[in-house]
Structure formats: C-alpha cells, structure tokens
C-alpha cells in the first residue's frame, strides 16, 4: 500500500499540487484521473521520487521516501516499475535488449536465467517473436507492451503507468487495460494508472482518485462514480453525450433492480 499525505509541489512559484492526500491499495488498479494539465504526471513523478515535493509524506508500506538515504532509495527503486507516457524505450536496444536491461543491471541471475525471465515477460505481454525488432519498427501498442514487459521484469511490488493508452486506438487501449489489470491481480501489485480515458475509468477503476486542478477532487470506485455529487467530476467524466447516456442507463437499471427487490 502506498499512502500519500498532503503533498505540495510548485514550479517557479506556480503551485501545481495543492496538498494531495490519498491511498493506493495492493492488488488493485488505482486510477488517478483528471483533465490534461491537472497535475497527474507531476503527482506520479512526485510519488516515485523523480520530482521532490516541497511538503508532505509518501509512505511505501510505511517507508517514507522523503526521508530515505541514497541506499534505501536504490533498494526501493528495485521494487518499482514504471510505464512512461511515451513508452520511453531505449532506442538503441532491441525489444529483448530493453526487457533484459533491468535484469542485466540489477538482478543476480545468470545470463541464461536473465534470458529466460525476459522471454517469460515478453510472452506474458503477448509479444512473442518480436525480440529482435527495434522500438522504431513496432507500433505504439506494441511499444507500450514492451514497456510493460520491461517494467515487470524485476517483479515489482509497485507499478506506475502514466497514460498507458494515450495515442492508442480504443481496441488496443482495452487490451492494454486488461493486461495491466490481469498482471495486477496475478502478482498482487499495487498498480497506479494515470488516465483521462473514460473507457479505462469505467473498465478497470477499482480505486479512483480524481485530481481537480491540483486539489483532491473525489475518491471512489467505478460503481460509485455514477452517484457522485461532485460537479467537477461529473463535468469531467460525463463530458460527452455518450457517457451521459451511459450514466442515465446505469441509474435507470439500478432503480429497476431496487424496485424488483421490493
């Protein structure tokens, strides 16, 4: 479990995060949602320690990363996997090279075992046979999957994903979401996903944190979201006609069910 308490972050005097507090749970897909520019990426980078917030506490199962020394930080890093918005694959390495990279740098496995583990991860994300391709030779969806394979290579306890399905078509997006959700359950990972994709929110949102212009907006699950009274959240989630209709439909069927019970 990761607990975030009252973190504040500003750039050049402009406050981006105004004291966010929340919790992320093991074995669940935790979603951070919000408009573009609301500070989701800054929040995620602060939690993983790529940015340093001015105030607040970030507890990884009780360990506060703001008070860690370099050695402790390094150990924690081995438990963290991260998927970046643009995949961030190493251009000069092949698919296999990318997945092997963390293993080569940090595992104590023999070269054969490393190769076996890398192949296992590549197969887990259904990319068998793409080993020798370079990132520039594969599609965006495949790049995301390679990045997932690289992120899970060291068996992380915490997996961070910054907009895992930005720039992908809806079908591929759903595949990526399902993959992330399955991996989370399979290995009991604390998965945190940044997204502004409503399909993901309604598909895999087990614990949703809505960030409203750097403020704590709303917290709940994908089922609670239909009953939310939070105006900013409703404006954001039910922005399109389609999702308003979905909301009306869900509410109507729920009422029917309630009446049926009576």
């Amino acid at each position: 479990m990761i607990e975030v308490r009252n973190i504040k972050k500003s750039f050049d005097g402009k406050t981006i995060l105004h004291g966010i507090s929340t919790s992320f749970y093991d074995g669940k897909t935790n979603l951070i949602i919000g408009q573009s520019g609301s500070g989701k990426t800054v929040l995620m980078k602060s939690i993983v320690g790529l940015l340093r917030p001015e105030e607040g506490e970030i507890l990884y199962d009780g360990r506060d990363i703001m008070r860690m020394n370099a050695g402790q930080m390094k150990n924690l890093r081995k438990e963290i996997g991260m998927l970046f918005q643009g995949s961030a694959l190493f251009d000069s390495e092949t698919v296999l090279g990318n997945v092997m990279f963390p293993l080569k740098m940090f595992s104590d496995l023999t070269p054969d075992e490393q190769l076996e583990r890398a192949h296992f991860c590549i197969e887990r994300v259904n990319l068998k046979g793409a080993d020798d391709k370079y990132p520039s030779e594969i599609s965006g969806g495949m790049q995301k999957r390679v990045a997932i394979a690289r992120a899970i290579a060291l068996n992380p306890k915490y997996l961070f994903c910054d907009e895992p399905n930005s720039g992908l078509d809806p079908k591929t997006s759903i595949l990526i979401d399902e993959l992330l959700s399955d991996i989370t359950k399979e290995y009991n990972i604390t998965t945190i996903i940044n997204t502004h994709d409503m399909n993901s929110v309604l598909g895999i949102g087990e614990n949703i944190i809505f960030v409203d212009k750097g403020h704590n907006g709303w917290t709940g699950t994908k089922d609670d979201i239909f009953d939310s009274e939070c105006q900013a959240l409703n404006d954001f989630v039910f922005a399109t006609d389609l999702f308003r209709r979905v909301k009306n439909y869900v509410k109507a069927t729920r009422n029917d069910r309630k009446e049926g019970v009576k």
């Binding site: 993983v48 930080m73 890093r77 991260m82 970046f84 918005q85 961030a88 190493f90 963390p102």
Partner: protein
Amino acid sequence: MIIESSLASLGKYCLFLCRVFSFPDRWKESFKRYINEIVKLGLDSIPLVIVISIFIGAVCTIQMYLNTTSPLMPRYSVGLATREIILLEFSSSILCLILAGKVGSNIASEIGTMRVTEQIDALEIMGVNSANFLVLPKILAMITFITVLVVFSMFTSLWGGYMVCAVTGLVPVSTYVYGIQTMFIEWYVWYAIIKSLFFAFVISSVASYFGYYVKGGALEVGKASTNAVVSSSILILLLDVILTKVMLQ
C-alpha cells in the same frame, strides 16, 4: 545578471560532473558502452579528420610558398612552417573545434532526445545513475581516442603538403621533407596531445551537460545542441590561450 546566471550554470555543471564521476553500477555494462562510444565518437570521426587534414595541410603548404618568396628565406622553410602550424595549432585546437561541431552536437542531441522522451527518467526509476551510465563512457572514450585522432591528423596534414609538392612541384619534394624534419622539437607533439586531452574533456562533458538538462521537446533539443557547440568552442579557444601560455613559456 549574466554573471549570476553563468555562476549558477557553472555550479550546476560541477554538480553534474560529480554525479558523472562516480563508480558505475555494473562495470561490465559501462565498459560495453565505452567500447561503443569509441566506435561511434572516435572511429567514425576518422574520415572527417583525414579529409580536413589533407586539405588544410595542402593549403598551408601553398600559402607558405606564396608568402615566403623572399630570396633570404631558404626553400625548406615552407615545410618547416607548415609543420609548426600543424603541430602547434591545427592538429589540436582547430581539429578539436571541428570535432566540437561533429561530436558535440551528436552527444547533445542523443542525450537531449533521451531526456525529452523520458528515457533518462526510465533509467532513474530503475535506480541507475543516469549521468554516470550515459556520460562517463562518452567522456572516457573521447579522452582516450582523441590522441589517436590528433596523431592521425598530424601525419595526414603533412602528407597533404607532401602531395601538393609532388603534384605541382612548388618546392622539390626532398626540400619539403627536409623542411618538415629540420629543427624538430618533440615537445610540440606532446604539447598538442596534452592540449587535446583537455579539449576532449570539454567537448564531451559540456555537450552532455547541455543535453542532460534539456526541457521541452524536439525544438529544445536542437537549441541545446547548438548551444553545446557554441559553448564548447568558446571554452576550447579560451583554454587554448591559457594552456599555450602555461606550456610554451
């Protein structure tokens, strides 16, 4: 204002170097990168070095001939003056200025691209010291290989002069060869090599620094690589003056 910001940059550059010069996480991986960088930054520069050196050597010889037509000057002074120019300035300082353009922009844009596409963040999140992992092999590769490039350039430049003499007959070839051998001071070769070690460090570290701290997108990467070339060129010229004063006086 300007002084303040340049001092701030200098401080940031020094802190950056502190992160670069630490022990690698995995020696084997860093060594592999070092070999790669030697190929990419060093071996791949050889054709450029050859072409430029031959032509400059040839032009120097022609100029020396045209500008020393006094009957009091012995003909072999053409070879001698060409040699001194090549050894003292061209094969170290000018060559490094040219390499600052080629190698410097290559390093800055490579590292800058890694920064804006979050590849550096990806390294950091894994717990890799990205500055050390990416930059140290480049600096070491440049410092070790620059000697080869400089010596290579000395020979090809003098050969360029030789070819001009042989083809056009400005000066008899034997006189030219006598000229480049006479009154030879070995220290000048060492002086050129020592200077170039400093320049190699400047080129690779300054370009890496500019690339490493890029913010934004592709446009900023382009700007960073231009700035890297300009800054390292100025530093090279400045160092040239200082080192010459220190070593030749």
